[in-house]
Symmetry: C2
Subunit: 478 residues, 2 copies
C-alpha cells in the first residue's frame, strides 16, 4: 500500500506537473481562440440550480478522473469575458500574459504580510505603487498598499481618514470617544462606501448624500448644503468621497472643486477611482482627473481598466505614512522588533495578513508590453464609447442616458409605438432574451428616468461593428 | 504604423499565448523540481533595499524584453515554499494541481459578485462550502461564503454576530444606537480579531481578554470573570471567539466548554479555525474540535492546511441566512429585483464585490485527488510535529514551549553554558544566521517565558530527517 509520503511525492512531482501543465496550456489556448473570435456563447444560459447539480457537494475518497475533462465542464459553464461581445460589468478580459503571471503567483504563493514571505513580490508591489502614484500626479512620498478589491480598498482609505480627521483616537478609543462621524458622498457612489461606514459603526447617517447634476456628477454647490445638513444632524463630517467615475454611468465628479472645498473645511479628500483612475494614463482624457493630484487618498483597481485579472487594488495615500495609521497591531510571531512603520512589511498597512503576489502581473505587463499599450487602451475604449453614444443618439430608436465620460454607456431602446410607461419593462426583457441567446452580455441599471441597458466597453477586442450588431440584435428581438 | 487594435490582437493572440504558456510550464516545472529537492536556498537573503533596486519603478513606453528571463529574476528573488526545509509561517506549499486551477481562474476572471458573472464558480463555491460545513458537523442549513483571507473572514463573522446579538440595529443605527459592545477573546487570538473590533468602532475595549492556561488554551473558568469585567466596564458582551488553533503555538481552545458558556449566556459562538479547522478531516485528530459543531460561525482557511494557494477562506454560519445580515446594500446595476437574499448572488454576503474564482482550486483538488489525501496530510503533519517535539524534549539541549496540539512547534536551543538571560538573544541570532544561510526557513515568537523559534510543518515533503538536520544545523551555528 502506498504511504501518504509516496502519494505526496507524486502530487508534487515536477514531471507530472509538466505534463498536466502542457496539456492545460493547449486546452486554454484553444479556449482563448474560440472566445476571442466569438465562437461560443458569451455567457452560458443555465440557471443556478442546474449548475449546482452539475458541480455537486460530493467528492470521492480516492483519486478519480482527470483535469482535462473536468476543466472542459468548468470552461463550458463559465462566463467568457474574452468574447468581443462581452460588454457587461467592469471586469477586465485579462491579458493572457497577466494570467500567466497569476499562475506563477499561485505556484510561488509568496504571502507578503512580511517582507521575508515575498521578497520580490514586496519590491514589485512597492514600485508599482510608486509608478501609479506618479501617474496620478501625487507628490513624492505618496505610497500605500495593494489589496484584495475596491471594497476593501475604500474601507482602508476611510479608516485612515477616520484616524486622521475624527479629532479623537477612534481606533483605540472607539466610536464613543467622540461625536458620531459622517462622510459627504455623491448619491452615485458605489455601495461599498456606505457599507464601509456602516461597518465602522456610523450607521446609515455615516453617509451624507451630496446631490448630483443631470450628468450624474457631484454638484459642488451642494457640498456646503450637505455639510450644514450633517452638522445639523449632530454629525462630524470628516471627509468627502468623489467618484472617478461612478459605477452606474461612469461619471467623473469635478475633483478640483471638491479639492477646494476639502481644503477650505479641513476635510479628508478621498477619490474612488477604482474604474476611472486609469484615465490618468491617457493624454486625451487625463484632464477629467484634474484635481486628483490633491487627494489625500485614492483607490485604483488595476483589474478594471488595466487588463489584468482580479484582484489588484491600489490604495494610495498622498502621505505614505497615513497607511500605517489605519491599522496598528502586535503580533510577535510576525512583526519582530520595535519599528511599527517598517516600510518593507506590507502587513502593517492593510486589513489583510496573507495576500497574493498581486503586484507581479501588473509589474510584468508594464515591463514587457510597455506603458503606451495601457494608455492607448484607455484612449481607445473611451473613444469607442463616444462613437457608440453618438450612434445611439442619432439612431432615432435608441436613447442615451447621458453622454459618456469614460467607457460606460447607458442607453435604452425606444422603438416607435412603445408607450413610455412600458419602456422600463422592455429593457429588462430585451436584456434577458439577449443574454440567454448568448450572443452578447450586457447589464442594466435603474436611473432616475427609468431602467437603462448598461455597457462597459472594457474588452480591447470589442469593435464599432460589434456595437452596431448589438443595436441590430436589440431591434430584432422585439 | 501598428494601430492599437493590431497590438491588442497580438497581445490576445491564442498562438502567442500557447508558445509563452508552454515555455512557462517548462520553466516552472524545472523550478519545482529544484525546489522540492531542496536544490536552492529556501529564502534568498537579499535585504529589502536590494530587491527594490532590482525591480525599479521604471517601465518602458514600448514593448521590451521577454517573459522567461524576467521570471527567472522573480523566481530567484522569491521565497521557495516547496523546499522541504520551509517550516515557517502557516502558508501552504501549493499543490501544483491547485496552481494550474488558479491559472484557469486568472484567465477566466469570473468575478462572482452576482451569479451571472461566474456560473460554474458560484456553483463550486456553494458546494465546496456545503462540504466543508458537513466536515465540521454543522447542521443542514449551514452556509456562507468564500472570501479573501482569514482577516476579512473573521471580520465578516463578527459583523454577523454584531447584527444578531447587539440588541439594536448596529448596521443602520450605528454604534450610538446602543451600549458599546465587546467580545471575549483568548489572549492568544490572531491580531485580526482586535483589528476587526477596532475597525467596527469598538476601540481597544472591544476585546475583553480571557486568560489562557499553561498550554496556551483558553481557561473556561476565566470566562465568567471576563464577562463580569466587561459588564463592569460598561460593555455589552455579544460573543466569544475561540481559537482552533492559536497562531503562535497552535493551541486548540476547549470548544465544548466555550459552547456551553455561550449557550448559558446567549452569546454568539465564533471559532477562528483558520489553521486548525482542517483537523476535522483527520479521524485521529478531529476530537480536538469537539464542540465546534455548536458554533454560530467558523472561519477556515483552505490555503493553510489544505495545500492550495492563498487566498481561500470559508466563513461558515450555522444558519446560512446570517450571512446576508452582515451586509445590506442597494446597487441596481448589480442586484436586480426585490430579493435581497438570493442564494445565488454571493456579493450579498461578503465584504467584497468582485472576487476570484477561489472555489475552483479546492473543488478540483478534492474531486481529482480524493478527500483521503487531505485527511492524511493533516494526520501526517500533526504526527510529524509530535515526533519532532518528542525529539526536542529528549535531546538535552532543546526545550519545547508546549506539547503541540497541531503541526506548530515552538522550541528553543538551550546549549550547556549559555546563561538563561542570554537565551532570548540566542534564538533571534540563530534564526537570522540560519535563514540568511538559506538552508532552512523558520520564524520566531515571544511567549511569556521568552523568545522561541517557531516552526509550522505544513509542507508534506518535510520529513523527520529534515527536522533532525534542523536541530543539527542550530547546534552547529553557535
Amino acid at each position: 500500500m502506498q504511504t501518504f509520503r509516496d502519494r505526496a511525492a507524486a502530487a508534487y512531482d515536477a514531471e507530472r506537473f509538466r505534463r498536466q501543465g502542457h496539456q492545460l496550456v493547449d486546452q486554454l489556448a484553444d479556449y482563448l481562440a474560440s472566445a476571442t473570435r466569438g465562437a461560443l456563447p458569451v455567457m452560458p444560459p443555465e440557471p443556478p440550480a442546474e449548475n449546482l447539480a452539475r458541480f455537486p457537494a460530493a467528492f470521492p475518497e480516492e483519486p478519480a478522473g482527470e483535469l482535462h475533462p473536468f476543466l472542459e465542464r468548468v470552461l463550458a459553464a463559465s462566463h467568457h469575458l474574452h468574447h468581443p461581445r462581452y460588454v457587461g460589468h467592469q471586469v477586465s478580459a485579462p491579458l493572457p500574459l497577466a494570467a500567466l503571471c497569476d499562475f506563477v503567483s499561485a505556484l510561488l504563493n509568496n504571502g507578503m504580510a512580511v517582507y521575508e514571505m515575498g521578497p520580490a513580490a514586496t519590491a514589485m508591489e512597492l514600485n508599482v505603487l510608486r509608478w501609479m502614484g506618479g501617474q496620478l500626479g501625487l507628490p513624492e512620498g505618496a505610497g500605500g498598499v495593494l489589496t484584495s478589491g475596491g471594497s476593501v480598498g475604500n474601507l482602508t482609505a476611510l479608516l485612515a481618514a477616520r484616524q486622521a480627521r475624527a479629532g479623537y483616537d477612534a481606533w483605540n478609543g472607539g466610536a464613543s470617544a467622540g461625536p458620531p462621524l459622517t462622510v459627504l458622498v455623491p448619491e452615485t457612489a458605489h455601495y461599498c462606501i456606505a457599507r464601509a461606514t456602516k461597518l465602522m459603526g456610523w450607521g446609515a447617517a455615516g453617509i451624507t448624500p451630496v446631490a448630483v447634476d443631470a450628468h450624474f456628477r457631484l454638484r459642488p454647490e451642494a457640498l456646503e448644503e450637505a455639510l450644514a445638513a450633517a452638522t445639523r444632524a449632530g454629525r462630524r463630517p470628516i471627509a468627502v468621497v468623489a467618484c472617478a467615475g461612478s459605477t452606474a454611468t461612469g461619471a467623473f465628479d469635478p475633483l478640483e472643486a471638491v479639492a477646494d472645498f476639502c481644503e477650505r473645511h479641513g476635510l479628508w479628500f478621498h477619490v474612488d477611482g477604482a474604474h476611472g483612475a486609469s484615465a490618468a494614463l491617457s493624454p486625451r482624457y487625463r484632464h477629467q482627473l484634474k484635481g486628483l493630484e490633491r487627494a489625500d487618498s485614492v483607490v485604483w483597481d488595476a483589474h478594471k481598466m488595466m487588463m489584468v485579472p482580479a484582484l489588484i487594488t491600489a490604495v494610495l495615500f498622498r502621505d505614505s505614512a497615513r497607511s500605517f495609521e489605519a491599522f496598528a497591531q502586535e503580533a510577535s510571531y510576525l512583526f519582530h522588533g520595535q519599528d511599527t512603520r517598517r516600510w518593507s512589511d506590507l502587513g502593517l498597512r492593510t486589513l489583510e495578513c496573507t495576500k497574493e503576489m498581486m503586484g507581479l502581473k501588473l509589474y510584468a505587463c508594464l515591463s514587457l508590453l510597455g506603458t503606451r499599450f495601457f494608455a492607448d487602451h484607455v484612449t481607445a475604449s473611451f473613444d469607442l464609447a463616444r462613437r457608440f453614444a453618438e450612434r445611439l443618439r442619432t439612431s432615432g430608436d435608441f436613447e442615451v442616458a447621458v453622454p459618456p465620460d469614460c467607457n460606460i454607456v447607458c442607453f435604452r431602446h425606444t422603438p416607435a409605438g412603445v408607450p413610455a410607461s412600458e419602456l422600463d419593462a422592455l429593457q429588462g426583457r430585451l436584456r434577458e432574451r439577449l443574454i440567454s441567446r448568448g450572443d452578447f452580455y450586457l447589464v442594466q441599471t435603474t436611473l432616475p428616468k427609468g431602467v437603462y441597458l448598461r455597457t462597459t466597453l472594457i474588452n480591447p477586442l470589442t469593435s464599432d461593428a460589434d456595437l452596431e450588431a448589438l443595436m441590430d440584435a436589440l431591434r430584432g428581438l422585439r
